[in-house]
């Protein structure tokens, strides 16, 4: 295990623990309790990470916000994988007119910036947790589909695919047994990077008021609320910002390591023949 793996794994584990455990251990009220005498107070013993404009404790808010942010990001990426994977694999493996039709649709969606697309969807469906997930999931699908198609196309041209066909393997089995395992590594890396972007997208949507709605807290919402006080109380932006940055960093490092672990060439020490 490399340092990168340990650090990345630890960061991801920490954020997951926050998202799962914080809501169980920390009463919601702690994050919404307003201390009007200590509004915008810098980090102190009473409020280790400071407070926001309403005097709410940033440490509790960032811990409880983790659940919303990570839930939305995770569900959104899962959704884009569920749609994008079959799309991309079918497109890349079969090629021809199937590929043309599917990829033109994907290209058309790609023409809209992801965030703009998510904004539109969220605005049309109405901002709430479920719709935020749908908005980000749909907006991210074409990117994943494109990358998956490229990988499937590359693998579909490998001699072992032709070998499998020559051995009488059906297309379905070729996709399941030969194509998928060989494109998993780049997809996982891409998915972890997408997770990072999805956290940012959720922050962006919430920042514009089309994501998480108060009184729920999410990191994006916290950053949004901080914008008027940046000059006086920069920690109000820095604390949720740091949470986003650390999660993204952890996910990226973890993704790299995951790819290596999934590759049989790295999993075992190579034995000289």
């Amino acid at each position: 295990m490399t340092t990168r793996g340990i650090v990345g794994g630890a960061l991801v584990a920490l954020m997951l623990a926050l998202a799962i455990l914080a809501p169980l251990l920390v009463p919601d009220t702690w994050a919404t309790e307003m201390d009007m005498l200590a509004r915008l107070s810098p980090p102190s013993l009473a409020h280790p990470l400071g407070t926001d404009q309403l005097g709410r404790d940033l440490m509790w808010r960032v811990m409880l916000g983790a659940r919303t942010s990570i839930l939305i990001a995770g569900a959104a990426v899962l959704m884009s994988l569920v749609i994008g994977l079959p799309l991309g694999v079918v497109s890349g493996y079969f090629g021809g007119w199937i590929d043309n039709v599917l990829m033109r649709i994907v290209d058309a969606t790609l023409a809209f910036p992801a965030l703009l697309l998510a904004l539109t969807i969220s605005a049309v469906l109405g901002p709430n947790l479920r719709n935020t997930i749908i908005a980000i999931g749909v907006a991210f699908t074409p990117y994943l589909a494109r990358i998956i198609r490229g990988e499937a196309l590359r693998v579909a041209r490998m001699p072992y695919i032709e070998g499998a066909r020559a051995a009488g393997t059906t297309d379905t089995m070729i996709i399941l047994r030969h194509v998928l395992p060989n494109i998993m590594a780049p997809i996982i890396v891409q998915a972890t990077i997408s997770l990072a972007f999805a956290i940012l997208a959720e922050a962006g949507l919430s920042f514009l008021g089309l994501g998480t709605q108060p009184p729920d807290s999410s990191w994006g919402l916290m950053i949004q609320a901080s914008r008027d006080y940046l000059d006086r109380a920069p920690w109000t932006a820095l604390v949720p910002g740091a949470a986003v940055a650390l999660t993204v960093l952890g996910l990226n490092m973890f993704g790299d390591v995951l790819r290596d672990v999934l590759d049989p060439r790295h999993a075992m020490p190579a034995k000289p023949a």
């Binding site: 001699p159 393997t169 059906t170 047994r177 049989p264 034995k271």
Partner: protein
């Protein structure tokens, strides 16, 4: 005569993820002016690292010269390359030491014209004005026998054939009149007729300019053709050094003897009609096998007028404006238990023919008959069943196995597909197949990357055998293997043929191997079979001009039988691309001897 290059105790190490690795240890040899020294060895022998060290290019690959002296007699006086400054090295590279690499397409920059690339080098090293550099470039292209050099200067690399490109690379290496030319496998990626031209050219340039040549190769036949002296390497060490005649006539080291024994020599099968096993160094020659059934027995596989064309689409509407006539009116019959070799150079259609047999590409017209049954239009389930009878072994053992699947699974896959065995029985069958191809059962649960090339090719063979095919199409199945491993895999294939009555469609460009393993030979050129017949007849009495040219181009692993390679045939290579609507003439043959037919 003092040496131009004196390598003494060279040791090169690489830092890798698994710790430091010594690639070359204590290598010493010399190169005199005007001499060709061939460094020969199998993959991993350290031959390329040695040549890169001489240019100090190993440093760019994460390596370092750990020990030893590399004395080079530069124009300004002798210097030690291992300790020279980076500035000194830049002055040597491409100036006093020229280098040619294996792949002529990748050693030229595709976005610049030939002229631009040559002129840049000349201006840098020779301080020539643009016009003077251009004039010199024309002169150099003429020197390497490139026709119409002025016009070539304005062409891009992709507009030239592989042979022409390698000539340009040589011209560039020769631009500054190097004292030493390093050629690292310069002909490995080229067809044999082009190889002959390039070998002839390098030899002639050496004689004309008096430069020394350090020639890196894995091919003993090329060594016999080119070398004055030979350095045999293995595992990063020098095994043996000596004059080429001595190395071939009386090799001292066991390894050299083994290496030479495994090399088939073109012409050695002249009065032996049946295929014979390869010589395996250190092992007794396997007993001759019962001879195969006669070629006129009922054919198991028959092609009748098979034609495969690929459309070329151009323009906005992607209309078909031309067709690549990859396979044009090809007919042959392959009997049970026999090997028919398809030989020819790249692009001649031999692989497409093989793939058409498995219906991996769709033939345009013609008929494929397997066991008397027309299989040309089979679809769906019938097509899958056909694939039980015809299996394929591919060229690249590193790409033809799924890297994410255990070997046992891969061998089991065809049996699973056809439901021929399951559960316990399946596992037993897979284990038996591993025994059959002489792979230890401990490999069953391994992944492909843990195996060497030869072992992977055995897995591919086991997989092909698993469903009891009648015909195996072997597409350059041993081309990527080292010569000793190649011999073992070929012997295994011949053994299986004798035991199981398999028929092989053996696709290869290696004439010496083909001579040894085939019963019948078909020579392909531009999509057609130009000559077909029993191997002994075709090799002893080639009738078609192309067959003759092909056979005359093959270097022979015997310095006493060096070939005089005629100078370049500069006629443009005819193209298999014809405009849409072109009606290809039929292939008509004249029978010159029983079964021996030549295209008229």
């Amino acid at each position: 005569m003092s040496a131009l290059v004196d390598i003494d105790g060279l040791t090169v190490g690489f830092r890798t993820a698994d710790g430091p690795v010594t690639a070359v240890a204590d290598v010493s040899f010399t190169v005199a002016p005007g001499e060709t020294v061939c460094v020969v060895g199998e993959s991993g022998s350290g031959k390329s690292v040695t040549s890169l060290s001489l240019m100090r290019l190993v440093e760019f690959g994460g390596g370092a010269i750990l020990d030893g002296r590399l004395r080079f007699d530069a124009a300004a006086g002798p210097l030690d390359v291992a300790r020279a400054s980076d500035a000194t090295m830049r002055g040597l590279r491409g100036n006093e030491i020229g280098m040619i690499f294996q792949e002529p397409m990748t050693s030229l920059n595709p976005v610049f014209t030939i002229g631009r690339q040559m002129v840049d080098g000349l201006r840098l090293h020779r301080n020539l004005a643009r016009a003077a550099a251009r004039a010199r470039a024309v002169e150099l292209l003429r020197e390497v026998r490139i026709p119409e050099p002025e016009r070539r200067l304005d062409q891009y690399p992709h507009e030239l054939s592989g042979g022409m490109r390698q000539r340009v690379v040589i011209a560039m290496a020769m631009a500054c009149r190097p004292r030493l030319l390093i050629a690292d496998e310069p002909t490995t990626a080229l067809d044999v007729t082009i190889q002959a031209e390039i070998l002839g050219l390098i030899d002639r340039l050496k004689r004309e300019t008096g430069m020394a040549v350090l020639f890196i190769t894995h091919d003993m036949a090329v060594v016999a053709q080119m070398a004055d002296r030979v350095v045999v390497m293995r595992g990063g060490r020098v095994v043996e050094t000596g004059p080429v005649e001595r190395i071939f006539a009386a090799p001292q080291a066991d390894y050299t003897r083994a290496l030479l024994a495994a090399v088939p020599r073109l012409g050695e099968m002249a009065d032996r009609p049946a295929p014979e096993p390869m010589r395996i160094p250190g092992a007794p020659v396997p007993a001759a096998r019962p001879s195969a059934p006669p070629g006129d027995a009922a054919p198991i596989l028959e092609l009748r007028h098979l034609t495969t064309r690929f459309p070329v689409r151009t323009g906005m509407l992607r209309r078909v404006t031309a067709n690549v006539h990859a396979v044009e009116d090809v007919s042959f019959a392959l009997a049970a238990g026999r090997t028919l070799s398809l030989v020819g150079e790249s692009g001649c259609g031999k692989s497409t023919t093989g793939r058409s047999v498995l219906r991996l590409v769709e033939p345009t017209s013609g008929e494929i008959r397997l066991g008397g049954r027309d299989i040309t239009d089979l679809g769906g389930r019938d097509l899958r069943r056909l694939r039980r009878d015809v299996q394929m072994i591919f060229q690249d053992p590193f790409a033809s196995l799924n890297p994410h699947m255990r070997l046992a699974q891969q061998v089991a896959e065809p049996m699973r597909n056809f439901g021929t065995a399951r559960g316990r029985e399946l596992a037993d069958r897979v284990a038996d197949l591993f025994d059959r191809v002489q792979l230890p059962r401990s490999f069953l649960n391994r992944y492909p990357h843990e195996l060497s090339g030869g072992q992977r090719q055995r897995v591919a063979i086991a997989r092909a055998l698993s469903v009891g095919p009648k015909v195996i199409v072997a597409d350059e199945a041993v081309s990527a293997l080292d010569v000793s491993v190649q011999a073992q895999v070929l012997n295994l294939m011949m053994e299986l043929q004798a035991d199981l009555g398999l028929s092989f469609l053996f696709i290869s460009h290696d004439m010496a191997v083909v001579e040894r393993v085939s019963h019948d030979v078909a020579v392909m050129y531009l999509g057609r079979i130009v000559e077909i017949g029993p191997r002994a007849a075709v090799f002893a009495d080639p009738r078609h001009p192309y067959t003759r040219r092909l056979l005359a181009s093959v270097p022979i692993a015997d310095p006493a039988r060096r070939r005089e390679f005629a100078q370049a045939d500069t006629a443009p290579i005819p193209s298999p691309v014809h405009p849409a609507g072109y009606v290809a003439p039929r292939s008509e043959y004249r029978e010159v001897a029983p079964g021996h037919r030549v295209l008229v």
